[in-house]
């Protein structure tokens, strides 16, 4: 499974998002530190889930970080996040 697919699966299963888009932006960071020619190093995740309601920004990001711990400790070098609850979009 690609890292991107793993990110989508984990976030979908844990957070039941009403919107989820995972972008592999590795091509925009060619040659930057952490970039790897194999790709899948820089991601951007846009997610909306009821699980984030009432949580602070830091708490929301930490929820995602925890779910994607293996990926962040593996090849993922950068993870840009847009994390919202329904009604905030």
């Amino acid at each position: 499974m690609s890292i991107r697919a793993a990110i989508e699966t984990k976030l979908t299963q844990a957070l039941a998002p009403t919107r989820l888009a995972v972008f592999d932006e590795s091509d925009r960071h060619v040659g930057h530190p952490g970039w790897d020619p194999k790709g899948e190093t820089h991601f951007c995740v846009d997610i909306v889930s009821p699980a984030f309601a009432g949580k602070s920004r830091i708490e929301r990001h930490r929820m995602v970080h925890t779910l994607l711990d293996a990926e962040l400790k593996g090849g993922v070098h950068a993870l840009a996040l847009s994390v919202k609850a329904p009604g905030e979009e």
Binding site: H32, P33, R57, I58, H61, H65, D69, L79, A80, L81
Partner: protein, 110 residues
């Protein structure tokens, strides 16, 4: 406080009202996300201390553990973790960052 580098982090956070742990220096950021936060702070006219974690691998690991946050940059105001690039940009865009600086008595110009 198991990690000896934590003491140095605590010291920097108590010596400086606004601290940005980043890749590269404010003048020469080595990462687009660090550069973006430097830009936000510069636009606001906030005086801050940029700490380049690339020159010190032990600090690079320690700050992630200290903050319980896996990525850089990391912004602190008056010893309190504010967030990384996404959070800082969101807060600057909707005025929350300015409110936070005002509430913590940190001067800024914009």
């Amino acid at each position: 406080m198991t990690n000896p580098v934590f003491e140095r982090i605590q010291q920097d956070l108590s010596d400086n009202a606004v601290v940005l742990y980043m890749k590269g220096t404010p003048m020469f950021p080595q990462c687009g996300f660090s550069a973006a936060v430097v830009q936000v702070l510069s636009d606001l006219g906030v005086k801050f201390k940029g700490i380049d974690i690339l020159v010190d691998p032990s600090l690079r690991d320690a700050i992630k553990e200290f903050t319980n946050w896996p990525t850089l940059p990391q912004l602190y105001v008056k010893g309190e973790f504010v967030g990384g690039c996404d959070i800082v940009r969101e807060m600057a865009a909707n005025g929350e960052l300015q409110q936070l600086l005002t509430a913590r008595n940190v001067p800024f110009s914009a």
